[in-house]
């Protein structure tokens, strides 16, 4: 070994040992701090609003932003606070959305309800952090899933806890609640099915090595789901070991593995109706299947290099929320949806005549002509 090699090695040893770790904490990105960033966004939006008549004469409506080109789309309108949306649900009588409140260790998803189409909002379930929402099937009924694994039901103006996860060593979060026809499905550490919204049964045992024993859940979790005719397909994941798709036959209670579109690449978002499935994988691709996952077609063209965080559920209109805005599938391509300022869209919900987008900067409604 030459003298210079040795000196380089010892110098790098010294430099490598010059730092010690004090702490490491997982956090949402707020380069300038949450209130400062929100304030800056507000200032920028006000500046844009003030300058808009000069910059875009004849293209402004009060409180609205012209969306990117979507045939048949009206201007977008923001509803509620300009904060990150955790979950959203709506029916003709009530709109529900949860927004991130607080910072760091105090951060939680606060549920707000509106009964006037999003003009005014009231706080609900202030002791819970709500990360999943569904409306229906009865008018005005809302279901809320929490980070502590509970499901709440609101009917006739009253909230009742209708499900509580059994005590476990693992975080029992409910990540999704979907209402479809008379049936409700919820997922997180377990797949739960209810025929009336009041009693829920855990149908997870039989999926891979999962048993009724909570200890068998380990690092198991369901990231997203799609409800098809007579079946539920779930994207199962382990944070490190990867994931797969599994189908649960509602009539027989049987589980079977569904061949995924890309081997072991994890599915981050999915949607579907009838026998059609659409999934987005973490490698930035979107796939569709018309036969419950028997065969897959890559439909990523127009969405490449975007991470899809949510796909519309139970509807033939396919909308994707991505890290670079929202997109709607038109014939064989994807068209941008919503204001061009949209960045991370985590929630999409297609309702009668409109699309609701839960984004980093609030809840947006885009009316469809």
């Amino acid at each position: 070994m030459s003298n210079i090699d040795d000196r380089i090695r010892r110098a790098l040893d010294q430099q490598a040992a010059s730092l010690t770790l004090r702490s490491a904490r997982l956090t949402k990105r707020r380069a300038l701090g949450w209130p400062v960033a929100a304030g800056m966004i507000l200032v920028v939006l006000l500046a844009i609003a003030a300058a808009a008549p000069l910059l875009f004469p004849g293209d402004q409506r009060a409180g609205q932003v012209t969306p990117a080109a979507l045939p048949g789309a009206e201007p977008a309108e923001r509803l509620g606070p300009a904060s990150t949306v955790c979950a959203v649900a709506a029916d003709p009588a009530v709109m529900a959305a949860s927004f991130v409140e607080g910072r760091d260790t105090l951060a939680r998803c606060q549920l707000l309800l509106s009964r006037d189409g999003g003009r005014s909002w009231e706080r609900h379930l202030e002791n819970e952090s709500v990360v999943a929402l569904a409306a229906g099937p009865e008018p005005g009924v809302i279901y809320a899933g929490t980070v502590t694994g509970s499901i709440w039901r609101r009917a006739a103006g009253r909230w009742d806890a209708v499900y509580s996860s059994p005590p476990t060593a693992f975080q029992p979060v409910i990540t999704r609640v979907v209402a479809t026809g008379p049936r409700l499905v919820a997922a997180g550490r377990a797949l739960l099915v209810s025929e009336n919204g009041l009693t829920w049964r855990d149908v997870t045992p039989g999926l891979g090595g999962i048993s009724a024993d909570p200890a068998s859940r380990g690092r198991f979790g369901i990231g997203d789901l799609a409800v098809l005719d007579g079946a539920v397909v779930v994207a199962v994941g382990d944070i490190v070991a990867g994931s797969g798709l599994w189908l649960h036959e509602l009539s027989s209670g049987q589980w079977r593995r569904v061949p995924g579109p890309t081997g072991s690449v994890a599915v981050r978002a999915m949607g579907g109706h009838s026998r059609a499935l659409i999934v987005a994988t973490v490698d930035g691709r979107v796939w569709s299947s018309s036969d419950e996952g028997g065969s897959w077609t890559d439909i990523s063209v127009g969405l490449r290099d975007r991470q899809v965080f949510d796909l519309s559920k139970n509807t033939s209109k396919v909308v994707a929320g991505t890290d670079q805005g929202a997109f709607v599938r038109m014939s064989s391509n994807w068209e941008p949806l919503g204001p061009p300022s949209l960045r991370l869209v985590r929630e999409v919900l297609v309702i009668d005549g409109a699309v609701l987008l839960g984004a980093d900067d609030g809840l947006w409604r885009i009316l469809l002509r």
Binding site: I4, R7, I8, R9, R10, A11, L12, D13, Q14, Q15, A16, S18, L19, T20, L21, R22, S23, A24, R25, L26, T27, K28, R29, T84, C86, V100, D104, T105, L106, A107, R108, C109, V131, A132, V147, A169, Q171, V173, T175, R189, R219, F220, G221, G223, D224, A235, G237, D238, I239, V240, A241, G242, S243, A266, R268, A269, F309, D323, L344, R346
Partner: protein, 171 residues
Amino acid sequence: MDVSLAPVACAVVRLPPADAAELEATLEGLARSLLPTAAALASDATEARELLEDTLSRVYERLPQLRDRHALEAWARRILVRQFLDRRRWLRRRPTTRLEISVEAAPARSDELIDVRHAIGRLDQQDRALVVLRYWMGFTVAECAAQLRIPEGTCKSRLHRVLKRLRDALE
């Protein structure tokens, strides 16, 4: 370490709801083991901390893509080196969920090796990465070439040139 944001973060970024405490413990363990590499590559403590934060945020986002959990550290170290080499490109696409790192720097030392550290610090990013890969991480020339995405012959001649520059600077 605070962990209560992790379940919200997991749910919000639509990752499977793994055990939040374990997730952060995994990332903190990675931060600890990757810090010396970040410190060796970076020119100062601030750059090392930012490099490590960006790397672990990428690792967090891409965890579901990892097929073999035993390969986690080597996989994360490759991301760290690529992150260092492509810093400007990465900064334009910063992830939305981050692991915030706090580091403590040892008092500056003045000794016989300070001139060597300064000479290495004056190298450009590619050359500095090459020196760290070859002389500190112990990669072969072929492995360095693969990591830097350059032909092996180019890597060999670059190494020769860098060594000559360091030798000249130190004489």
